[in-house]
């Protein structure tokens, strides 16, 4: 599964960032890398909330990556 970061930037300085497809706890490391990269550009992202995804949310994301296999006739 591809690792994806989706950021939603609202008009009141709020940023909602969704991390998907990161194995284990690596999404938190990636969040730190992103915060550091933003800080270098002059944007200080102050954490307000951190919500781990539920197992059903993760399962749903993973399910979208399953490729349907077609049966092929061998002559």
């Amino acid at each position: 599964m591809a690792r994806t970061i989706k950021a939603e930037i609202g008009p009141k300085r709020e940023i909602k960032v969704e991390f998907s497809g990161f194995p284990g706890e690596s999404c938190f490391d990636e969040a730190d890398r992103l915060k550091s990269a933003l800080k270098e550009l002059g944007l200080w992202a102050i954490s307000v909330t951190v919500t781990p995804k539920t197992s059903s949310q993760i399962a749903k994301e993973t399910a979208t990556d399953v490729v349907e296999k077609k049966k092929v006739l061998h002559s």
Binding site: I5, A7, I9, G10, R33, K39, T51
Partner: protein, 146 residues
């Protein structure tokens, strides 16, 4: 595991200052310039370097945004010692709404540009989309895929 984080954004151009350089050499300076010009284009405003107060007195600033319906203008200054970004406007007389709207748009543009550049620097393939909502206003969606 994956997660959802929410942040509050503050702008402070300190990277160059920490390296002993001037704030004009900060990567954020050019991003702020781009965010201001994008706001000007979006709201049909002029970019300059001065605003006027209620009495018509000229106040110089790093950037200003003004237009026919808002000739007094709003100014943007970057503190040379701290890198703090300050918006200045004499909003007395009914200019609170328009000045607030311009300020919000400049900041939102700045955040969107920073997130896009940061994700690119981390080797993500980035897509940007703007969504206009009648109640919540404009939202910018930035998606990075690794």
């Amino acid at each position: 595991m994956s997660h959802i984080s929410s942040y509050y954004a503050d702008i402070r151009l300190q990277t160059a200052l920490e390296e002993g350089k001037s704030v004009e050499q900060d990567p954020g300076w050019e991003i702020l310039n781009e965010a201001i010009w994008a706001c000007a284009e979006e709201m049909d405003l002029d970019v300059g370097h001065s605003i006027r107060d209620y009495y018509g007195r000229l106040v110089y600033c790093d950037w200003s945004l003004s237009g026919p319906a808002f000739d007094r203008g709003i100014g943007i200054n970057v503190n040379r010692d701290t890198g703090d970004v300050v918006f200045i406007c004499d909003s007395y007389g009914g200019y609170e709404r328009i000045s607030g709207e311009i300020k919000e748009k400049v900041i939102q543009n700045y955040i969107a540009l920073c997130v896009t550049r940061a994700l690119s620097a981390l080797n993500y393939e980035v897509e940007v989309e703007e969504v206009k909502h009648p109640v919540d206003g404009k939202k910018v969606l930035v998606k990075g895929v690794l």
